[in-house]
Symmetry: C2
Amino acid sequence: MTDDARSAAPAVGRSGLTMPHAPTLEEVARRAGVSRSTASRAINGGLKVSPAAQAAVDAAIAELNYTPNRAARSLVTRRTDSVALVVPEPDERVLTDPYFAGTLQGITAALDPTDIQLVLLIARRGEEAKRTTRYLLNRHVDGAVVVSHHRDDALDQVLHDSRLPTVFVGRPWAAAGDVAFVDVDNEHGGRIATEHLIKAGCTRIATIAGPLDMAAGLDRLAGWRSALHEAGLSDEAMARGDFTSAGGAAATERLLAAYPDIDGIFAASDLMAAGALSVLARHGRSVPGDIKVVGYDDLGVATSTAPPLTTLRNPVVEMSRAAGELLLAKITGGDQEVVPRIFHAELVVRESA
Amino acid sequence: MTDDARSAAPAVGRSGLTMPHAPTLEEVARRAGVSRSTASRAINGGLKVSPAAQAAVDAAIAELNYTPNRAARSLVTRRTDSVALVVPEPDERVLTDPYFAGTLQGITAALDPTDIQLVLLIARRGEEAKRTTRYLLNRHVDGAVVVSHHRDDALDQVLHDSRLPTVFVGRPWAAAGDVAFVDVDNEHGGRIATEHLIKAGCTRIATIAGPLDMAAGLDRLAGWRSALHEAGLSDEAMARGDFTSAGGAAATERLLAAYPDIDGIFAASDLMAAGALSVLARHGRSVPGDIKVVGYDDLGVATSTAPPLTTLRNPVVEMSRAAGELLLAKITGGDQEVVPRIFHAELVVRESA
DNA sequence: GCACCTGGTGGGATCGCTCTCACCCGGTGT
DNA sequence: ACACCGGGTGAGAGCGATCCCACCAGGTGC
């Protein structure tokens, strides 16, 4: 691979154009009639630059359509102007979850006013995960947002030790006091959902729990439990799901087999609730007539099920946006105090309960 | 901001540790007892490196936990080892579409064996879009995959002119002969869907079309048309949607008002079909009894509607994976011929038709 | 014997930027 | 008169990698 873009040979390719050779700061400076230093200053915040010089540089930039070379800049500043979104998710199905898209959208929004790039790191297990960790530890990004964190990925510990600015979306496992995170009050959400079922007259209430190696799974389960205890009802009917529709369906089958007389289900995600609805329909149980169902998330799925799901609105986008902003603050502001931001999930009543 | 990471002053911060100072190639070389050049060669493909030297370097790398500094490398190679996923999507709702997550998953899979980073570029309209374009044009990435391309974003033209390796997911508008892309045979899919309705006995078949400034929207509409023509049926009942559930619902309302006697609907996406189903239910039309509905995509939504949707399976993940691989080939292989890869959408019969 | 490869090696030069530093200027304080 | 300051400026030294080139073995061909 020789550097044919700048060789003396005639340009190849259909268009017949030579590669334009991106303008450098040197060229901008020359054109503006100032030194490289001044041009650089004008570009980065323009302190101690005369209005005349500033204007000249601005003009040159516009004429040449100049963008600073990120690599060169990073090399000396030791910043990369990029942050990672880390998704330690071995299970590829979960990527299709709209939750994930919501996260992306929130973080993108937070990053929008800056010109920081978002790079995506899907950390699989084993060797791959190690590569990701090393990548993060060697400061190839200025910070990281971690979403869908599982207990055994150990990212909380690793990232905390590395002192890389990090924000978790969803409460991390370890080092909870020291690691920044945003979350939604999952336990409260689980309780609200369950209380709604109780108020609607259900007395034998099951739950389809999320993965119990994730804080969200655990907390929603705990909320369900505490509401039942308070009402003096049994918290026996629990089946584990994996936040997917198929998992929810399977869990429902197990629940119906073990506890045929349940009259309410709290599913820890809408996808699982949707799976539950289809199984219930197949078994001839009417919703909300025979069994009432409450989901969690309200990210689009909830409105397209039949019946539409009563669910808890999970403010993913706002939450991840907050995560992004928190990360920016940590990056620029250094080591200030860590105040987790907790969002509220609110009940959206539709037809399933 | 002084370089306190290496100052002689005692380290600050809770942990009391000095920032580890990422190892450099120089250090690796010294430890391995070879020159920087040899170490570099050992790292990059190890041609003309003695087994002894190679082993020494490998060991040093492992001991120091070394990762090459990307910025320094990029500066000289003029590659960035990153590619962009460009989403020229002004409408934030669409980001929540599982289609998008599928794309991401496919590209990530393609990039996985390399250590190329994926950076996300959400190009809004106006100034923002310009910034994105400039970013791409100045070669801050080695290539780009464009998804959800609209007619007026002009990305096809701009990127083609720039000669930046680019692959579109979904047929681009202009320069179609010259721009690499992968796509699903949308017209064929639209035809299959409509033929299925015809075979099922429908004679007054409507469509909810996608955005007509996107190839997918147009092509699926064309497929619907051609099947109807072939069968000698009317192609009058058309309403435009925007690939979202709400848009589908609104379109359905309009259809029912204008053509109350329709007995079949082909919706150009499952989300729109889901919207249609809820409106139909509200109007007391039974599906598939009174009206049969066929969707498009089969990305999870289709199974959680009631009734589950008959739809066309859109192989988004495979398709985007192919896009990723095609891009890699273009980046490394240079200007070889452009062969669009067209995937097949196949009919998945469920209960709605 | 000399030329000429071929595998292996190390010494710079270099990429495009930032940042420290020295310097220059005119205005102020003593 | 001098020192001093503060805005504005340019020269030059890196940042950490790659890569060209020079060089040194030892083998081969004539």
